[in-house]
Symmetry: C2
Subunit: 459 residues, 2 copies
């Protein structure tokens, strides 16, 4: 495949648009992969992308709109007529149709549900009952299932009947007479085994499935752990109700990773990349800024308590930034390792004590290196500005740095483990939270030591 050159294609599209060459545009779009059309639409202006979308036949349109991000999708849906919308939804798989219908205003959603195939409409309504971030919320109702008593030949008939409806078939699910999932059969066996073989004789009985109310993150972890391409979904009675394919799981993995990354940066919600309203973006960023704001007002109060010390030894104020920054960084490092490790299941609570001990050892090394360096820098500096007690003062700040790095590292490592133990998402303990609390601790340690120092040295 040639690399898809977005920039060149966009230029061509724009040229055809300005030349009003609809025939050529249509031809071009029909030979383009839906995923590429998504890329094109995202990179066009609003008006252009609505026009391009209007040229797509409904089947292609249904694939494109399922793949579009929320923001662009909303833009395109806004002005769409109900008839066209109904046509498009009618072409979709149940999971994509459900996603789309759930985003529509209520009256529009009802019109669409009345307009599409009655069977599809029922399917969507059933799926709408599930929470968005559960197995039921991401599953599709399209799958191939056979009774355990069927033969290979009969299973092939079932597959043939379903082939158009179910796009990617990798496995046939096997159920008993009460629809309970009892086995799985990779479809290559339908090719390799003779036609009269009973399915129950060749199926795999250890089938990994998920319950419809299971969190999507757990689903993703199972698919990843067992290297699956799809996973069947069952109801509380064990009856087969749906299927989740690996492409949807991949989306979950990226979504969850983005969520972790954004939390670490103090962004409280995930839906902002495509958001254009600065007020909406501010709404997901301002909470952590304000948290940090009030935390640092606490820092200011700590500093004000030490006003007398600061006035006597103004040079101590110069090192407030380094004390804060190093504590913050050391804390973020250890908390991130814990949060990510817990999220991926690589760090377990079974090993919590061992992990903390490890962090303590690391903090000894890092604290020692930074402490010694700071001592060196201050000794030199004090010498240079002819500050009389630079040697003692350097030792004081060096020791502060050493203690602050140890403290920050341990706080950063401990809080996520503690939250996990309480069954609270450890990710809230990242970024601004750790940094702010370590700022306050750090200043207390530093200025406390400085005050002790002043009691013994009148400057």
């Amino acid at each position: 495949m040639d690399v898809f050159d977005l920039k060149e294609i966009i230029e061509n599209i724009r040229f055809f648009i300005s030349a009003r060459d609809e025939a050529n545009l249509k031809n071009m779009l029909l030979s383009t992969h839906p995923a590429d059309i998504v890329d094109i639409i995202v990179n066009l202006d609003e008006e252009e992308s609505e026009y391009i979308f209007s040229l797509l036949p409904s089947e292609l349109a249904s694939e494109v709109i399922s793949d579009l991000d929320d923001y662009n999708r909303e833009q395109i849906l806004e002005d769409m007529e109900d008839v066209r919308l109904t046509e498009i939804v009618d072409e979709m798989d149940s999971d994509d149709a459900t996603d789309l219908v759930s985003e529509l205003p209520k009256d529009k959603a009802i019109k669409v549900l009345e307009g599409i195939d009655i069977e599809d409409s029922e399917a969507v309504q059933r799926l709408l009952r599930h929470e968005e971030d559960t197995a039921g919320g991401i599953m599709a109702l399209e799958f191939v299932a056979v009774n355990q008593n069927t033969t290979v030949d009969e299973a092939i008939q079932v597959l043939r009947a379903k082939a158009d409806e179910v796009e990617d078939v990798y496995n046939v699910y096997v159920v008993d007479d009460r629809q309970k999932l009892i086995g799985i059969l990779p479809i290559k066996h339908l090719i390799l085994k003779t036609g009269s073989t009973r399915i129950s004789d060749i199926m795999e009985r250890d089938v990994i499935s998920v319950r419809e109310d299971m969190d999507q993150e757990v689903v993703a972890r199972l698919v990843k752990k067992y290297d699956l391409v799809s996973i069947p979904v069952v109801d509380p009675e064990g009856r087969l109700v749906g299927r989740i394919t690996v492409d949807d799981v991949m989306d979950v993995v990226e979504e969850e990773a983005s969520e972790d990354i954004h939390r670490l940066a103090g962004i409280s919600d995930d839906v902002e990349i495509y958001e254009t309203s600065p007020f909406k973006i501010s709404k997901v960023r301002l909470p952590w800024l304000l948290f940090s704001f009030f935390g640092e007002i606490g820092s200011a109060m700590v500093l004000s308590r030490f006003q007398a010390s600061l006035e006597k030894i103004i040079i101590a104020a110069f090192f407030i930034p380094i004390i804060m920054a190093m504590g913050g960084n050391a804390g973020i490092q250890s908390s991130t390792i814990m949060v990510r490790g817990l999220a991926l299941g690589e760090v377990g609570l079974l090993h919590a004590r061992k992990q903390l001990l490890k962090e303590f050892r690391v903090s000894l090394i890092n604290g020692f290196v930074c402490g010694i360096l700071l001592f060196g820098v201050i000794s030199l500096w004090g010498h240079y500005i002819a500050f009389s007690h630079f040697w003692e003062f350097g030792a004081l700040i060096g020791i502060s740095m050493f203690l602050i790095i140890i403290n920050a590292t341990l706080v950063g490592a401990f809080i996520p483990l503690f939250l996990k133990k309480l069954d609270v998402d450890p990710a809230i303990a990242t970024g601004p939270f750790i940094t702010t609390s370590n700022d306050i601790f750090g200043l207390l340690i530093y200025l406390g030591l400085a005050t002790v120092f002043l009691m013994h040295h009148s400057l």
Copy 2:
């Protein structure tokens, strides 16, 4: 499937180990999924896990060791005898065998390569030539390919012959007489079409493939974009040379996300979750700590230049932490959105100016809110401590906060875009780098304004 209860299983295993009940242990392991055995081994002590591993028959052992993390794998490989190791490698798929052999000491690797099947040995040696993080580095040589002139019946014969060797077959690749990849056929068509149909008549011609030297991140993005379960790999002449399956791509996605997360936290390398040597862990964390260290020495120098101002108005020192923290946080928020958006391809350089404008608008809102708040807090505080110029001083700090948040947000957004433009990985612009540079900028703005203020108010 019942949820796999790790804690209980570990307890059982430990009980059997202490009772030296090898028969029961073996039984238990044989009925356990390899991925679950991995979880067990990771949670046992070193001695226990080596013992458990030694009980596994070589095929099961090969699956377990392929899934193990680097640290535990190394532990187990260390003491393993060459004969056993060779047996295990002989059972592996070419990609897993290559991964393992590449980690062995040279003499051991040679012994293993001499011991295994000559064909497998050649395959591994061929794969070893590729860079680890390219398509060639993660592909396997096991796949099913047929000539375009074969019929469905003949293709089924090929599939039958390969069925044992190639574990998960979803597609048959179609090549011409010179082995060039020209099409792809989902295997369900082998079931649905009549036996005499020519493959070239039913294959899909638009086949998405990757070149062997393509970066694994690009591979992952293609698999994700086009919702694939596997992707064929071709050499520079377009000849089919391998296949990458979605489970390996999923690993890449998580690996890259972890890398981004760790970079954001100032951890320079990715392999540390399982690392136990504190020196090695320190080695990946200390560089960013030191970067920040010297940056903040710069902050100290900035502060020392303003010593006269600070001495006159010591209350200004109290707000150094909040100025630094808010600038740091605002910068991390915008840089993270850019870095993650660029990594996922959601933010493109085509829209760079639009993105910066958006960030500017957001920073106006956030800067305004925080600036006003700080003005309010200081006015109240100044009133409380009977500081004479609290109103003017509050306005000064409020304006500083406003400017600093705008500056930090724009710096945070601009640097990743700029690095991307230069073709440098934008992820290096995250975390400590942005924070440290914004600390220095922030202090300059703040103390600069404070000095101007002092020129007009003799305190």
